[in-house]
Symmetry: C2
Subunit: 494 residues, 2 copies
C-alpha cells in the first residue's frame, strides 16, 4: 500500500520530541494519495445509509472519527493536525456544538499525559535520569549480562515518571548505552557483536516491558484506562495497573536479557571497565544538585500519592499537577521549559481531540449499539480461544504501525469489545489488550518511540532485529497472557 521504510521512519520521528529534524521531502511522500484515502473514508461512511437504531448525528460523528483514525494510520498530516481537522469538522459540519467538540481538552486523563511529559523533561533536564542509570551500572555492571540488567533496572525505576519511551529509553538511556559500547570498541559493523548489538537490542526490548508496567510509563496507557472506563465501566487505577503488571513484568525483565544474550552471543562477557566508566561519570557529575533532589522528592511524593490514590481519593492527574507545580515553585524546571515541551502540546491536541470524540460517540449511544451488534456475530464462540486469537492479531498487526499510541487508539476499543462480546471476562480482556499495546513494540525497528534512535545507531540489521523481536513477542504472550492470567485470577480480578 505504501513504502514501509520512509513511512515508518517518518511516523516514528513524529512521535519523538525532536521531530523538527524530519525533512520536508519525507513528509510529502504520497501525501495527496493518503489525504484522499482518508477523506474517502469520511465521505463513504457519512453518505452510507444510517443503520437502524443509530442516531444520525452519531453516525456523522462516527464517519469523522473513523476517518480520523485512518488518518492517524496513513498520516496525510502529522497526527496532531489530523485530529485537529477531525475536531474542526465535527463542529463546522454542525454535528457537534463547539463546546462538545472541545470537551476532551478538559479531560483529566489528557492532562495526566501533559503533566507526565513535563515530569520527563525534569528528569532529563536535571540529569537525574542519567545519574540513576550510572548508579545501577556501577553496582551491577561488572559482567555483560549484569550491564543489561542494570540498564533494565534504570529503565524500570524511571518508567513511572517518564511516560514516553522516546524520552526514557531513547533520550535518557541511549547515550549511556552508546558510550558503554564505545568503551569496548564496539561500533556498527564487524565489532558490533563484541557487545554493542546485545546492549542495544536488550535495552530496546526491555523498554517494551517497562512501557507495559505502569499507567504512567507509556503515553497511551492513560488513554487505554480511559477507554476501558468509557467502554466497560471498569476503572483501572494507578496501583491496580501496577499490581496486575508486576508479576509478568518482573518475569519478562528477568528472562529477556538472558534470552537476547543467547540470541546475539556478544564476544565480551566481563565488563569491569563499564563500572569504572560509571564511577567516572558519577564523579564528573559531582554530588546530587538541588534541582535533582527536588525532582527526586517530587517523584517519590507523586509515586506514594499515586499508589495510595484509592485511599486519599486524590485523582492521578491532580497528583501529577501538584508535582509539576512543586517543581515550578522550587525551580527544578522553568515555565519556559513547560512552554517548550512540544511533545506535551502535541499529545494534548491529539489525545484531547480523540477522547472528546470518543466521549461524544459514547454519549450519542454508538458504543452501546456497536457492542450489542457485535454480540450477535460472536455468540457461541469459546472465549479463551477467541481472546488468544484476538490478542495475537492485535499484537502482530503492529507490524503495520510505527506508533504504539496510534495502534492502541485505532484498535483497542474494537478488539476489546469483540473479546468481551465473545464472553471473555471484561477486566481480564482489558488488561490483556492494555499490556499488549506496549509489548507489541518489540516486533520491529520502527514500532516504538525509541526505535529510530536504536535502529539508527546501526548495531543490528533488519533480520537480527526482527528475529529477536519475534522471539520476544512469543515470550510476552506466554508470560503475560499465560502466567499473567493466573496472577490476575489470584488477585481476584476476574
Amino acid at each position: 500500500m505504501f513504502a514501509k521504510a520512509p513511512y515508518a521512519r517518518w511516523v516514528s520521528a513524529v512521535e519523538r520530541a525532536d521531530a523538527s529534524r524530519i525533512s520536508h521531502a519525507e513528509v510529502k511522500n504520497h501525501r495527496q494519495l493518503r489525504a484522499l484515502a482518508t477523506a474517502a473514508v469520511a465521505i463513504g461512511i457519512w453518505f452510507a445509509p444510517v443503520p437502524v437504531g443509530v442516531d444520525p448525528k452519531a453516525w456523522q460523528l462516527f464517519a469523522i472519527f473513523a476517518a480520523t483514525i485512518v488518518g492517524l494510520i496513513l498520516q496525510p498530516l502529522p497526527m496532531g493536525a489530523v485530529v485537529l481537522v477531525g475536531v474542526t469538522l465535527s463542529t463546522v459540519t454542525g454535528t457537534l456544538h463547539i463546546e462538545e467538540a472541545l470537551n476532551g481538552y478538559a479531560n483529566a486523563t489528557v492532562w495526566l499525559i501533559v503533566a507526565a511529559f513535563l515530569f520527563a523533561r525534569a528528569f532529563s533536564k536535571t540529569g537525574l535520569g542519567r545519574r540513576v542509570a550510572y548508579l545501577f551500572i556501577r553496582a551491577f555492571g561488572h559482567k555483560t549480562l549484569g550491564l543489561a540488567y542494570a540498564l533494565g533496572l534504570a529503565d524500570l525505576v524511571l518508567a513511572p515518571g517518564i511516560p514516553s519511551g522516546a524520552a526514557r529509553t531513547g533520550g535518557v538511556l541511549f547515550p549511556v548505552v552508546k558510550s558503554l559500547a564505545t568503551t569496548y570498541g564496539s561500533e556498527p559493523g564487524p565489532s558490533a557483536d563484541r557487545i554493542g548489538r546485545f546492549l542495544m537490542l536488550s535495552a530496546y526490548q526491555v523498554h517494551a516491558v517497562t512501557c507495559a508496567m505502569f499507567l504512567t510509563s507509556m503515553v497511551a496507557n492513560p488513554l487505554i484506562a480511559e477507554l476501558t472506563r468509557k467502554t466497560l465501566g471498569i476503572d483501572i487505577t494507578w496501583s491496580g495497573w501496577a499490581l496486575a503488571a508486576s508479576v509478568p513484568g518482573a518475569i519478562s525483565l528477568l528472562i529477556l536479557p538472558y534470552v537476547i544474550l543467547r540470541l546475539t552471543r556478544p564476544t565480551i562477557r566481563e565488563t569491569p571497565e563499564a563500572a569504572a566508566l560509571a564511577r567516572n561519570e558519577l564523579q564528573r557529575m559531582g554530588s546530587v544538585r538541588r534541582e535533582e533532589w527536588v525532582v527526586l522528592g517530587v517523584f517519590l511524593l507523586a509515586f506514594v500519592l499515586w499508589i495510595t490514590g484509592s485511599i486519599t481519593h486524590l485523582n492521578a492527574t491532580a497528583v501529577a499537577l501538584l508535582g509539576l507545580c512543586l517543581m515550578l515553585a522550587l525551580g527544578a524546571i522553568s515555565w519556559q521549559d513547560v512552554l517548550e515541551e512540544r511533545a506535551a502540546w502535541d499529545a494534548l491536541i491529539w489525545f484531547g481531540g480523540l477522547v472528546g470524540m470518543a466521549t461524544m460517540l459514547s454519549k450519542l449511544g454508538l458504543m452501546t449499539w456497536f457492542s450489542s451488534h457485535v454480540g450477535q456475530y460472536v455468540d457461541g464462540w469459546s472465549w479463551p480461544l477467541a481472546l488468544i486469537v484476538l490478542v495475537c492479531v492485535y499484537i502482530y498487526s503492529h507490524y503495520l504501525f510505527a506508533s504504539l499510541a496510534a495502534h492502541a487508539t485505532a484498535f483497542f476499543v474494537p478488539f476489546l469489545t469483540v473479546a468481551v462480546a465473545a464472553g471473555a471476562p471484561p477486566y481480564m480482556a482489558a488488561l490483556a489488550f492494555a499490556f499488549s499495546s506496549s509489548l507489541c513494540a518489540s516486533l520491529t525497528h520502527y514500532g516504538g518511540g525509541p526505535s529510530p534512535v536504536y535502529w539508527g545507531a546501526g548495531y543490528a540489521d533488519v533480520k537480527q532485529w526482527w528475529s529477536v523481536g519475534l522471539v520476544a513477542s512469543l515470550l510476552h504472550i506466554l508470560i503475560w497472557i499465560g502466567i499473567g492470567s493466573v496472577w490476575w485470577r489470584v488477585l481476584g480480578l476476574f
Copy 2:
C-alpha cells in the same frame, strides 16, 4: 510596594513571545516576598468567616481565585505557572472535582485565543505582514504624517488576524518602523527628533486603538466577551464588537498621529525616500508567494465568516480552527510551527485556568451574591457620573500594570459589576470597560505587549513617552466614552 522598572520590564517581557531572554536574576527579584503576599491572600480569605448566603465551597474557590489574581499582578512565578498552581490547589484541596477544575480548557473562547496566536504566526512566518506594511507605505508614505497613517492602516488591517500587540506592532511592524527611521539617519539620541521618535510613538499609540477595535485584535478581548456573557448574560459577537468600535476607532486613528506630530515635532516632514524604500523592499520580496496567498485567502474567509457569524451560526472559534486547519493542509504553516508557538500554550494554560475558575464561581452562585451585595452600597448613585469615575479609575490603574491581559482579568468583572449595580446600562458599561482595557496601554512604556521593543529602541525618554500617553488617554476618554456612547445609542445598544 515594589520597584517599578525591573518589575515592569520583567512582566512585559513575560507577555511577549520571546520571554526566554529574561535573565534569571530579574525573575528572582523579591520572588519570595511576592509569593508570601500571594499566599497570604489565599489563607486570609480561606479562613475568614464565610458571609451569610455564600456556599462554603464557593468561598474556598474565591480564596484561591483571588490569590491567583493577586499572583497575576505580583507574579511570584510567570503568569501561566501562577494560574496552574491555582487550578491545582482548587482540586487538591477538594474544593473542585478534577474535571470541574479543568473545565476551562474545553472553553471555546480559550481555543479562539490559541487559534488566533497561530494566525499571527502564519502572518509573520510567511512575510505577509511586512508586505502589507510596505504596500501602504509605498502608497501613502510620501510625507511624515502620511507615513504614520500608512503604518496605522497596516496595523488596522492586520489587527483582526493578529491578536497579540507584541506580535503585530512589535514583531511585524517594529522592524519596518526602525528601518524607516534609519533611512533618515534618525537614531536614538540627538537625531531622534528628526523622525524616529514620532514614528515610534505614533506606531505604539495606534496599537492601543487597533487592540480595542476587534474581538480578535487583543489577546484578552475574547476573555472580556466571555466574562461579559458570564456576568451579565450579554453576548458580544465578533461583528457586534467591530461595529461598536468602528466610529470611535476611526476617529482615534485619524486624530492620534496628527496630535503626536504636534507634540513631538519631527524636523523631517517630506519622505519621498520612504516610498522608495518600500518599493525596494517589495521588489526584493518578489511576487506574492503561494504561502502568502494561502494566509491571505484564509484570513479573508475567516473575516467573512466572523462577520456573518450571526447568520451562519458558525461559532467564532470553529471559524478560527477551520482557518488553522486550512493553513496546515495547504502548507502555509507546519505542525512544528503550531507546537513551537509558546505564546499560544501560555495563553491556553492561563486563560483556560482563569475561565474555568470563573465558570465554577458563577455556577456556585458567588457572582450573583457579589452583584446583589454591591447593589446595596451604590444604590442612589448617579450612574453617568459613577461610570465616568469608574472608567477613569480603570484606565489610570493601568499605571500599575505591565500587561493588558492581567489588568483586564483582575479588574474587568468587579468594575463592570459595580457600574451596573449603580444603574449604568449593562451593554454600554460592558463596551466602555472592554475598550478601555486596550486603550489604557497608551499610558506607559511598559503597559502593552510591544512596549518593551519600542521603549527599548531608545527614541523617547520617560517624560516624552508618559506625556504623549497622558494626552492620548484623555483623547480616548473623550472619543470612546463621549462620542462612543452616542454611537452606541444610535446602534440601539442601550
